[in-house]
């Protein structure tokens, strides 16, 4: 069978090219998604600062919902300091270091801040942490006492130099450099006691994290690593702490990498569905055209004794050969694509640049299995009708459509379209990013429904038009319309992918822009403050900034605001569910700078263990005013908080707002990240703020107008737009391929028309009119199918039944569709016209 399949494939190389392209592109997209998913699950960041530690003990920075993927906890969770001595006593341990990291920066009144570490929020460490560095060269001696510090050799300072350090929000203090540490981005090293005091981690201190360290690094005797790790695991069993060795140590360096990884998983998950839907659609379409082109050959084989099963096996074998050949470059492109995508994410600051992609053969293998299975299934389905055809039909030469489109097919299609319409109501009920994403899925489902019920629709539409045609109509028009009607199946095979393209671009892009518009509308109207004061280079705002800001003349209100992550556990349809969401941290006086659209309760009650929640969350999670909600804070601490306010602008400000007191001690730095400032609007007030910042190195003042106060547009928005471009390219390429193949298969028809006296000019005119019908139908169907979901989305998010988005989108889509339809029909027709007509008949 394979021999026959190969022979027949070789003869149909142009038709199979469409399948090859579809498989190649699909394989690339699936592989890329697979690489992202695998990296999300398994990627390891390099151990960096902990390269010299053989065993690292740190808290688990993940929340594990039952039966679901873990959710990342990005705030550093502490480890009890007394564990350091216990672990140090284990046999084989040569050194045990309790490592802490806290905000620290070198400042200079003239030159500002000298960067010393990638994250200034954790740049400060105790001297003993240098023992965790992998072969660091130290010049000088250990800092001792409260006024000595060791700095990264990269700063260009010399031993003995005088520097000013802002540590953990304290005012700039003079230090003497006692040593240089030659490790890139190592940070600042204080005497151990000084470090603990600065970070408020010393056992005697009163801070919320007193008596704790961030992690414990152990150095062991040569070759004793595994033994020690086992002993440490036994020692910490039951405490919930994790023990890392080897490549796993990177996990403990920065808790944020976990959330970057879960972003990758989330991304791969949301991409996966769309990619599989579109790949399946494209591959099935290409195979449909290819098998239709071989219909006569296959029917002849039936006549000379092939069973229906053998016909299907032949079609499957043939497409499998093509698919496997196309898979090889496709998978390779997929790995490259994933790399590009990671660069894009890292470039936008969504991923930490040091997080590498995991490159293993697993995604390739999964792609191979998925694509081959899909191709075989699609080929068998495409050959189904031909294979079931009575053998006599092959003998009675027939070029018309196989039969009328089956009722089941039309029915299923209509049901899908109706189902998609029902689905697009979701954004009305759930005003969230997740709710909005249903819009594009509904659009694509509707397009698939169209592909199924299209033939019946096209036929009845064609019937209606031809019946009304006046007798005097030009021959090409009449021919074109008759073709439309008679070859409804073929035509809708061309119209539906184009309509799918229109639907996909419109719903996917406009969903993103609509959500973006609604979000920024929310944050813009909700942000009363005109300015925000930050200190990213210091790792957080120094103490006293708030009161200094309030003292600036013209300032009406100033309030701190932070951002963290919480995991909200709630019941969904009786099942426990957990969702990780960004959360604002606000003080009771936030009402002066932010208007969250509070409908119930008030922000001034945000003291103690209290939260404010969005109306959306309050409704769906039973968290109305006065109710208690169970949250897991960013460092994994479980808290029980009372709802004291319910607000409207959940889209812009997130589902939950924590009180400052609730979040205290549960964030990595503990410092305020931002101060939102509302002034009287005079230029003097702005100038006053700028002058304040100029006087304090590290402080930055920015307007809130551009980058609105709440949350930035979620990175998914930008990512999704990038995905639209890639998928659209794939879709257009495969549509073009399919159209070329479909037109090329009409050679016999064109030859017969010429023999019957149709001039080449008339044939071109006829084909152009068909192209016009194709483009018009595709656009109309695409618009119609996207209209309902997009109108509902507009109503849900913007309050008017149309989406927000760039005005040029529709004309560009229309031009692209028309150009594709025209070019891919015109060129093969011209090619067919160059062949003498008698030859054309024979080739059929």
């Amino acid at each position: 069978m394979l021999h026959l399949a190969l022979r027949m494939a070789a003869h149909r190389i142009t038709a199979l090219l469409a399948v090859a392209c579809a498989v190649l592109g699909g394989a690339a997209l699936i592989t890329a998604t697979g690489v992202l998913a695998e990296s999300g699950l398994r990627s390891q960041v390099p151990p960096g600062r902990l390269g010299g530690a053989d065993v690292v003990v740190a808290a688990d920075q993940e929340f594990h919902p039952s039966g679901d993927l873990p959710l990342a906890l990005p705030e550093r969770a502490a480890v009890p300091a007394r564990l350091v001595d216990r672990l140090a006593a284990l046999p084989g341990v040569t050194a045990a270091v309790g490592d802490i990291g806290f905000p620290a920066a070198l400042v200079d009144a003239r030159t500002g801040v000298t960067p010393v570490a990638e994250d200034p929020g954790t740049a400060g460490h105790g001297w003993s942490s240098t023992r965790l560095l992998a072969d660091a060269r130290v010049t000088g001696r250990a800092p001792s006492g409260p006024h000595e510090v060791a700095v990264d050799a990269g700063t260009g300072l010399a031993v003995g130099a005088r520097v000013e350090v802002v540590a953990n929000g304290r005012p700039a203090t003079p230090y003497r450099v006692s040593a240089l540490v030659d490790a890139p981005g190592a940070g600042l090293y204080f005497a151990d006691g000084t470090a603990a005091a600065l970070a408020a981690r010393d056992a005697g201190g009163g801070g919320p994290r007193a008596g704790t360290v961030d992690l414990i690094g152990l150095r062991t005797d040569e070759g004793a690593g595994d033994r020690v790790a086992a002993a440490v695991r036994a020692a910490v069993a039951g405490t919930g702490l994790d023990v890392h060795t080897g490549a796993g140590r990177g996990e403990a360096v920065a808790p944020g990498t976990g959330s970057a990884r879960s972003l990758l998983i989330l991304l791969a998950g949301s991409l996966g569905g769309i990619v599989l839907l579109i790949t399946g659609f494209v591959v099935a379409g290409a195979l449909g055209v290819t098998v239709a082109g071989q219909r006569r050959d296959l029917a002849l084989m039936r006549a000379v004794g092939a069973t229906p099963k053998q016909i299907r096996r032949l079609a499957a074998a043939q497409s499998t050969v093509v698919a496997v050949i196309a898979l090889v470059p496709g998978v390779a492109v997929g790995y490259l694509l994933a790399g590009r995508f990671r660069d894009l994410l890292a470039g936008r600051g969504v991923l930490p640049p040091e997080l590498p992609l995991t490159v293993s053969p697993l995604p390739a293998l999964a792609t191979l299995l998925l694509v081959v299975a899909a191709v075989r299934l699609c080929a068998r389905c495409a050959a189904w009708r031909t294979s079931r055809m009575p053998a006599t039909e092959a003998v009675a030469e027939s070029r018309s459509e196989p039969r009328t489109p089956s009722r089941t097919r039309t029915g299923t299609g209509l049901l899908l379209v109706l189902g998609a319409c029902a689905l697009s109501v979701v954004p009305l009920l759930s005003r969230t990013v997740l709710g909005a994403s249903v819009t594009s899925v509904a659009g694509i489902l509707a397009a698939i429904g169209l592909a199924l019920c299209g033939p019946a629709l096209v036929r009845s539409a064609g019937d209606a038009v031809v019946r009304r045609l006046r007798p005097g109509t030009a021959a090409p028009t009449w021919l074109a319309l008759s073709n439309v009607r008679a070859y409804a199946l073929r035509l809708s095979g061309v119209v539906s992918p184009l309509a799918m393209g229109v639907v996909f671009v419109l719903t996917y892009t406009l969903t993103q822009t609509t959500v973006l518009a609604a979000t920024s509308e929310d944050t813009r109207t909700g942000t009363l403050a005109q300015y925000e004061v930050t200190a990213p280079a210091l790792g957080g705002l120094p103490d006293g900034t708030l009161s200094a800001v309030r003292d600036v003349p013209g300032v009406r209100a100033a309030a701190p605001a932070g951002t963290t992550t919480v995991v909200w556990e709630y019941e969904e349809l009786g099942d426990p569910a957990a969702e990780s969401a960004p959360a604002l941290i606000l003080a009771p006086d936030a009402g002066g700078v932010l208007d969250l659209g509070v409908t119930d309760g008030g922000l001034e009650r945000l003291t103690g263990a209290t939260v404010a929640v969005s109306g959306e969350a309050a409704r769906t999670r039973g968290a109305g005013l006065g109710k208690r909600v169970r949250l897991v804070l960013g460092d994994g601490a479980r808290v029980d908080a009372r709802v004291v306010a319910v607000y409207d602008r959940g889209l812009g400000f997130g589902p939950v707002v924590l009180s400052r007191e609730l979040a205290a001690g549960h964030t990595t730095t503990g410092l305020d990240q931002r101060i939102l400032v509302r002034t009287d609007g005079t230029p003097e007030a702005g100038a006053g703020l700028t002058a304040l910042a100029a006087g304090r190195p590290g402080l930055a003042v920015a307007g809130t107008a551009r980058d609105a106060a709440g949350t930035d547009p979620p990175p998914e928005v930008w990512i999704n737009l990038a995905v639209v471009v890639v998928l659209l390219g794939y879709l257009l390429l495969s549509i073009a391929n399919k159209l070329v193949a479909a037109t090329a298969q009409r050679r016999t028809e064109i030859a017969a028309l010429r023999l019957a006296g149709t001039t080449p000019r008339q044939i071109l005119a006829m084909m152009r009119r068909e192209a016009a019908v194709v483009a018009a139908l595709s656009l109309a169907c695409g618009l119609l199918l996207s209209a309902v979901p997009l109108a509902l989305l507009g109503v849900g998010f913007l309050g008017h039944p149309w989406p927000a988005g760039p005005a040029w989108l529709l004309p560009v889509v229309a031009t692209a569709v028309t150009a594709t339809a025209y070019l891919t029909i015109e060129l093969p027709t011209r090619h067919a016209l160059r062949v003498p007509s008698a030859e054309g008949l024979r080739m059929g």
Partner: protein, 251 residues
């Protein structure tokens, strides 16, 4: 093999084709076959004639197992096929039945040799190389096996189709207007070959044609009209058949 021995051999076997009151009604109520009964013995050459729409093609499709009759029984080489499903019928067909069509129906993407061995391959059988060589030599295609069908003349294509039909040593060969698309000389060659197959190799041949000259080469001719057999002629002659056809056409 002598004629006596042949007769003795066929006497023990069931007839090559046996139709018992076979009817075929198409959707829409067109009755293409009206309870036709017919027996074709092994080693005989039968011609089926009739004007267009007389049901001769339907008769052949039903007798060959390409189509299922609406009622009645069809046996090929003693094997009942009326109740079989499409797959079983196909399998039976490729073992016991060979076809020659007016349009040759060679698969354009396969070489002549691949076309000839196709039914055997589909049946999962090894081609009998000796037999195929003898056949291709006999029909004069020995040097053209590697060619594509499009590179052969019509007569050559039809002879290739004949070899394909015989490759599996079928119980009966059905020929549907085998000379309809050929020039006079090629048509003669093909008819000579068919007759020789019957006379020399004891092959059974059923040929549907509207050409009285072609039908005159058969042992027996049936004349059909309106789905029924209106006349059966032993040792038919072309003038007589032509006369009958003209008469039927004028009704």
């Amino acid at each position: 093999m002598s004629t006596a021995a042949l007769t003795a051999a066929t006497a023990r076997r069931a007839p090559a084709i046996a139709l018992d009151r076979v009817a075929r009604t198409y959707p829409g109520g067109v009755r293409a076959l009206d309870e036709v009964s017919l027996t074709v013995e092994h080693g005989t050459f039968l011609a089926v004639m009739g004007p267009s729409g007389s049901g001769k093609s339907t008769l052949m499709h039903c007798a060959a197992g390409l189509d299922s009759p609406t009622s009645g029984r069809v046996r090929i080489d003693g094997q009942e096929i009326s109740g079989l499903n499409e797959t079983r019928r196909t399998e039976l067909r490729r073992e016991r039945v060979g076809f020659v069509f007016q349009a040759y129906n060679l698969i354009p993407s396969l070489s002549v040799e691949d076309n000839i061995t196709l039914p055997l391959r589909l049946a999962g059988r090894r081609p009998d190389r000796e037999w195929l060589r003898a056949l291709t030599e006999r029909v004069g295609l020995a040097g053209r096996l590697a060619h594509r069908p499009a590179e052969l003349s019509g007569g050559q294509q039809q002879r290739a189709a004949l070899v394909r039909a015989l490759a599996a040593r079928p119980a009966v060969v059905f020929a549907d207007e085998p000379t309809g698309a050929l020039d006079l000389r090629s048509a003669h060659q093909v008819l000579d070959l068919l007759r020789a197959l019957v006379d020399d190799l004891g092959q059974t041949v059923v040929m549907v044609t509207h050409d009285p000259a072609a039908a005159a080469r058969a042992h027996r001719a049936l004349v059909m009209a309106d789905g029924r057999v209106v006349e059966a002629l032993e040792r038919p002659t072309a003038p007589h058949l032509a006369e009958r056809l003209v008469a039927l056409g004028e009704r």
